[in-house]
């Protein structure tokens, strides 16, 4: 697993880091442990011997480098905002995506700020593994010269909430770097804490700056930007739903929708690979169920951000009422000892987060809540991101989404997903914005072959890719490896793929339908089955894309890719890992996993 920090039984790992590593390998069997040990050793060797170019012109002593590592764009957004605040205050800043950064460069810097997300189950964001592996490794140099601060982003519905920010902070401190502002941790509703941290670090930078702040507070460039009408996360565009078409067949266990949205007159532009942010409203039935579980009156008045409104409206549009996070659990646990014991047991906590929703918590752990208490213990409702399934050039003024509608029975009660039910629930308009994703892009050269691996709705961006390449007459070979449950009902966009294959646009397609036979077959099995062909494509310069489930699929595909490279290239495990790392650093191995 690429995300595992370089480990040794003794320091340099802090106890937190070590615990994190232990949790990752807890379920490994003997072979997996042996394999991993070799893999990690290989990584350590590779990182140590890598010939690093000298960093770009040394940042001046007063320059602050703002590193961000992002999966969903939140870290980048905060870093950009920080950059603007700093510029306004006359502080020189450089924004730096951690994934494009040669790790050793940090040793030359004086001032660094880190906005670091934690992905899924305590992993660094895709592409930033090399940075963490190097700086958590035993060969990492001392950093006595460095002033820094860390803003940790996470999602407290996972047990290892903000783990990467904590690990980085601990490690930098251990290497002698000086934290100038205390680490701040943010949940999904990060706006307030991120703004507070930004304010603190900018104030610190100003206070310690040798140069006077400029008189002009805004650059012309920034003014030009702010004058243009744009729809953003905070001011989304109300897009009309043009089509809401179920695309799974009779008998499917899933309800997947193809949704077409009208972006005309929004000025919103996107590229294949980008995501669409959807600002959802919670399902009315779920609001009702929650009111019933808490025995509260939906008409009672509450305050949200100092605005009075009805409780039902607050729950529908302002509060997260599907995903449980840690602060909520801690609040409810104050009245329930068995929840306390769950909070104290990491495995049970992970299981709890994975299986329970807010409705389960309030229905199974009752207490007399006031309306305001309820609103206050729930976190802000945050937008959901969907990989866009259309090429803007093939579908001007439209964005298409592939949405799996989350709706199921468990613990004797119905459960709903928020955004998916909003999109597929008969709404005529939904508030949206574009979330660019520069980490998931078609090759510049239209003749470069691409290999696209996607499971379930992870096929969405590939529809955009193939549409785009067809629209622009690009001749590069396109190979799609798709997986889902059943051929008959879950072959998403089957007719389109068949047509693309017939027209010669889709060079090759492999499918893995896990439930059509006794033995489960997944996309990674198809990768292994096509090892020779796949390696030949990589040797021809193919780009390799992975989209879909982060928890299992992405890791399994990564392992399969390593095996293919090792076996077909007749390489050692270490050299195979290097090969794959080079694909990554050359932006030929890109992932959009969630």
């Amino acid at each position: 697993m690429a995300a595992v920090p370089n480990a040794k039984p003794a320091p340099p790992l802090t106890s937190d880091t070590l615990q994190s590593l232990r949790s990752v390998v807890a379920d490994f069997d003997h072979d997996q442990l042996l394999w991993s040990s070799g893999y990690l050793a290989g990584l350590a060797g590779a990182a140590a011997t890598e010939a690093l170019p000298p960093p770009a012109a040394d940042a001046g002593a007063d320059t602050w480098t703002v590193f961000y590592a992002t999966e969903t764009g939140n870290s980048r957004r905060i870093a950009q905002s920080l950059g603007e605040r700093a510029k306004e205050a006359g502080i020189a800043v450089e924004l730096q995506d951690l994934r494009d950064y040669r790790p050793k460069g940090l040793a030359k810097l004086s001032n660094a700020l880190f906005v670091v997300a934690t992905h899924g189950i305590g992993e660094p964001p895709d592409g930033s593994e090399l940075f963490f592996e190097f700086w958590l490794g035993e060969r990492a140099p001392r950093l006595e010269q460095l002033n820094y601060s860390v803003l940790a982003l996470g999602d407290s519905s996972y047990a290892d909430f903000c783990a990467m920010g904590q690990i980085l902070d601990d490690r930098l401190r251990a290497l002698g770097a000086k934290p100038v502002v205390d680490r701040m941790e943010c949940d999904l509703d990060y706006d307030a804490p991120a703004a507070a941290w930004t304010k603190s670090v900018v104030e610190h930078a100003v206070a310690n700056s040798a140069t006077e702040p400029p008189q002009s507070v805004r650059s012309p460039h920034l003014r030009a930007v702010s004058n243009r009408l744009t729809y953003t996360r905070d001011t989304p565009f109300p897009a009309e739903i043009l089509l809401d078409q179920p695309i799974t067949g009779q008998g499917s266990g899933k309800d997947v929708r193809h949704i077409e949205l009208d972006l005309e007159s929004s000025g919103l532009r996107y590229e294949p690979g980008d995501s669409l942010g959807v600002v959802p409203q919670n399902p009315p039935q779920l609001v009702e169920a929650l009111l019933e579980a808490t025995r509260l009156d939906g008409d009672s008045e509450v305050n949200v951000n100092d605005s009075p409104m009805a409780l039902s409206a607050a729950l529908a549009t302002h509060r997260e009422i599907t995903i449980v996070n840690r602060p909520l659990l801690e609040t409810v646990a104050q009245h329930h000892d068995d929840l306390q014991s769950i909070l104290a047991d990491r495995n049970r906590l992970t299981e709890f987060f994975a299986s329970r929703q807010v409705i389960d918590l309030f229905a199974d752990y009752r207490k007399d809540w006031s309306s305001q208490e309820l609103v206050d213990c729930l976190r802000r409702l945050t937008p959901r991101l969907y990989s866009i399934a259309s090429s803007p050039d093939a579908n001007p003024d439209e964005a298409h989404l592939t949405v799996s509608v989350v709706r199921y029975e468990q613990f004797g009660r119905p459960h709903w997903g928020s955004a998916s039910n909003f999109l597929a629930g008969g709404a005529s308009q939904v508030p949206v914005y574009i979330e660019p994703n520069d980490r998931f892009r078609l090759p510049q050269d239209g003749d470069t072959p691409i290999i696209m691996v996607g499971a379930g709705t992870g096929v969405a961006p590939y529809r955009a890719f193939v549409e785009h390449r067809r629209e622009h007459g690009q001749g590069g070979d396109n190979w799609l490896i798709f997986g889902d449950r059943n051929f008959a009902s879950d072959f998403l966009y089957q007719l389109e793929w068949l047509r693309y294959r017939k027209d010669g646009i889709l060079t090759r397609m492999d499918v893995a339908f896990s439930r059509d036979q006794q033995q489960k077959i997944y996309v990674q099995h198809k990768i292994l089955e096509q090892a020779q062909r796949l390696y030949a494509w990589l040797e021809r310069g193919a780009h390799f894309y992975v989209c879909g489930d982060a928890e299992r699929m992405a890791g399994d595909v990564h392992q399969a890719l390593l095996s293919v490279v090792q076996q077909q290239g007749k390489l050692s495990a270490e050299r195979a890992a290097e090969y794959v790392n080079e694909l990554k650093s050359g932006r030929r191995y890109q992932r959009d996993v969630y």
């Binding site: 695309i247 799974t248 067949g249 009902s489 089957q494 068949l498």
Partner: protein
Amino acid sequence: MGRENNLSPVEHIKKRSNYLRGSIVESLADPLTGALAEDDTQLTKFHGFYQQDDRDLRADRTRRKLEPDYSFMIRVRVPGGVTTPAQWLALDALAVSHANNTLRLTTRQAFQFHGVKKGNVKATIRRINDSLLSTIAACGDVNRNIMCTPLAEISAVHEAAYKVAGDISEHLAPRTTAYHEIWLDKTRVAGTPDHEPIYGETYLPRKFKIAMAIPPSNDVDVFAHDLSFIAIEKDGELAGFNVLVGGGMGVTHGEPETYPRVADVIGFCNVEQAVSVAEHVVGVQRDFGDRSNRKHARLKYTIDDRGLDWFREALAERLDFALAEPEPFQFTSRGDRFGWQQDQRGSWHLTLFVPEGRIQDKGRSRLLTALRELAGIHKGEFRLTANQNLIVSGVASTDRKDVERLFEQHGVNLLQTLSPLRQQALACVALPTCALAMAEAERYLPDLTGKIEGLLQSHGLLEESISLRITGCPNGCARPYLAEIALVGKAPGRYNLYLGGDAEGMRLNRLVEENIDETQILAKLDRAFAQFAGERQMSESFGDFANRERFAEAGAN
């Protein structure tokens, strides 16, 4: 006729198929689609199966960006409709594991599996062959399953006729090794090119059907086939056959050059000559049949285009014996006799009514299960009838009660009284699977029969023996043009109504009304029944009455 330059597209597909191989193997291996390549769908008919899809779902799936729900209908060739209990068990197991939990008995005494997915086709065909049955030439432009009256009473004649049917079936089977290579993984012997001594590389211009009737039953509708034989009995033995040619049912709506035709009796041959007669009738059709227009390619058109005398001469040139004058024969019925019958040797035969020919567990009646359990202990045979029913054949007197009890235990009521109309009623499969269907047939028959029974009852005619047949399209799988009342599908819910066939299956009916819905059909029949009840002559059948009255010419009658 100079038509070689204007061959129908299927002729080209056959010619370039390398004796029926085409790209079937590649089509089966393509994981992105449940369908075959288009050309291969023509070729697989020769191997015994048709590509179909669930037409109820087609439009909805297209909107869902999913291809049609493709599956395959696999037909098992069972000469004369006779199977062993072991074969029955093999077919039953396949129906459950690879098809839709039903076995469909056809009007040509064959079995059909429906709903077989592409990935299961090969295993299904293989296991059918393992049970010593086959699917080869069950469909396609070749001789298909040979029908033979499964009549029980005259067992010596049946046995002899059945043997001839088997010999003809074997003699006319395709010789290409493609079937064995594709389905049975037999490798081709190097340096042995394929050769079709009877058919040649483009086979026949169209399908070819053979039937054999043993009077007095004309259950096989002996006048409805390209070639048929009427068994002639002398002193309790099979003496030979009257030979009939040029029957056929298939019609295309709106194309007057297509029509049903009753076969002509052209002579008599002895038992040993029958195979040779079959080979050379096939040979004439191979050489002179219309290969430019598939709707005009059956033997009946070859004969009508050139004249029956021309045909007799063409056949005589090829035979090394002369056909004798036909022997007299008499048919009395076409329907099956339900219940127990004893043969000359004392063995018992139980004819079961199989609703719409579909063997399934449905509601209280678990016919599929009952027959599976019976097959486990039965020592005789299972015989399929031309009316889509089943005979449990060869039961010892002492075992009769056990057989009856077994059916009772599974909710199959042997004693239920069915009206003569329902007993004889036939329907083809039609919607949702048959690609040719324009209207419902099998799924509609029970309901329609009930409504017609109501009309008959109101006119005191419920005990009349009247043949009712319904097909989803004009191609004629249930031989509708020989029925006393026939409905031929025109569009969803709309049919052409035909009246006036005879009870013995020797006379075609007539088109009475075109493109009418159920209300109009029932109104028309109601008036016809009223008139029949009031004006019929002594013991006149409804078909004869309708023929005499010429309802069609009476117009708004």
